[in-house]
Symmetry: C2
Subunit: 344 residues, 2 copies
Amino acid sequence: MKIIIDGMGGDYAPQAIVKGAVKAAAEIDETIVIVGPEELIRNCLNENNYSGSNIEIVNATEVISNNEPPAMAIRRKKDSTIVKGMNMVKNGEGDVFISGGSTGALLSGGLTTIGRIKGIRRPAIAAWFPKLNGKGTTLLLDCGASVEPKPEYLLQNGIMGSIFVNAVKGVDSPDVRLLNIGAEEGKGDDLHKEAYKLLAASDINFNGNIEGRDVAETECDVVVTDGFSGNIFLKSSEGVALAIMNQFKSKLMDGILAKAGALLAYGKIKELKALFDYSDVGGAPILGLKGPVVKIHGNSKETEVYYAIHKAVPFVRNDVTGMIAKAINDNAALFQKDKTEEDN
Amino acid sequence: MKIIIDGMGGDYAPQAIVKGAVKAAAEIDETIVIVGPEELIRNCLNENNYSGSNIEIVNATEVISNNEPPAMAIRRKKDSTIVKGMNMVKNGEGDVFISGGSTGALLSGGLTTIGRIKGIRRPAIAAWFPKLNGKGTTLLLDCGASVEPKPEYLLQNGIMGSIFVNAVKGVDSPDVRLLNIGAEEGKGDDLHKEAYKLLAASDINFNGNIEGRDVAETECDVVVTDGFSGNIFLKSSEGVALAIMNQFKSKLMDGILAKAGALLAYGKIKELKALFDYSDVGGAPILGLKGPVVKIHGNSKETEVYYAIHKAVPFVRNDVTGMIAKAINDNAALFQKDKTEEDN
């Protein structure tokens, strides 16, 4: 297995990428290929005293930034880390591509270079949402890949999420919910009413609607959303959690009694903070492409990179892509409504 | 001024309603009319040793529950507290209707009994979102009144929110944002791209998109959303805040050191909790109707009722309804796109 990683993606590249790769390489048999300016990456490997044999470098001289129009960048920058890495997955020279670069470029490159699985209407970005009661994570998809959703996309998100969680976490028959503005069937707009029916008619373990306030503490494995409200959900949750932690910090550091109290409660406060530590989730897979792609956060450091490499292994080994292709084919009858759009 | 309140709306009615009304009545000159079963309400007033002269009772023998289909309930239960209260506003026998009853029934009753302001496409539920840095609140609308939104509705939400915040908080030229999945212009789906253009072309103080993660700590007065993602935003924020506070509580009560620490930091922890105390916001106005209606939470207690009555005064006194009617008329050129739907 060859795990390809974008050596220049993210705020702390290439240092964080190389450090994470070196740490992971010592623990796995798979080959890690870092795509980036060869000399720069090699120097970085040397600085980190790398002496193993399972890290390779593939030279790429260009970088796509977050500020350029994604589709044009993909077309023009043929020697960019993203285009080169994705081409390797497409051509079978690599099994998965991990990048902390521009989400737009990864989506655009994924569609034009690697391509959609036959029958998939829109790829989806799947993010892990941490349970705030400490009981693991829920996979939320789509989180922003598709902004003009149709009911069939939501059904496909449910199928893809279910397969992914089963493959990487070993959960049998993952519990799938639909993010909606009410718990009962029949709630929401036409999109969500129709998506509900499709999800209920499919062969996945669909357990109805879930409201925004219940995701943080409900035991479920997959939450299906449209890209717009999924993005709003994820970012608002993050915003509130950060704002509370900021208040928490400033209040407990304000005044001698509070400080003493905080000191005594230090261990517990640390546990509380750990609930918001996303660094070990392994990034967000872009599901629905013909080859595995994982987006890691732009501010990823060594730890995030290390886990993303580790978690990419079951993504590839369990052939999530092949399983999605099969499931979409098996459920094809549910996607007949608007065939003209399919594979266009 | 006559403030009409639903004596039977909410989990703690009629006790909480009567207690809140008695407390508020002692401080204001306005008449408070409690709508409900006359004897029940009168006994409740006596239990609370009410001896003033500005609380009246209007008899209503039926109650609309949260579980019945709203439109049918409004049609059939002519002697319900909601239908009677709304008819009083319609007929000029009251100036505002406050209720902790079914949101669906309030919306349905508002549309059929009181009716929309001329030119208003859809009424909106406006909720106060507390700034988690302690710096006041932001008005978020729509939070679920309308689930198949069009760009014009979002523009009207911006106009209505701006007028309401100006009227009840005295903010000059309130800072209005659009909840979207990216900060730059051109982000989001067609609905939000088009809404952006309309908001920018209007005469309100529109300052562009805001992302979900930034609402909790950004200084702005009004956040415009479609009913679906607004509802997702509000409930997910609430869910995360509650989950964190639950963790906070359980972690700090776990073990002797943490307990001692929590005791020392008690004052600060109390301050932290107060950030999430919504009880003084005065409920959520339903804007766009020909008369003021305020929805209070179903779990409202005396304090929420008391504040809702107090805050209803500037809602009426500043003629928010008349100001909205004028603003919609002044901006009419922006709503010409789909005139066939108007006032249908």
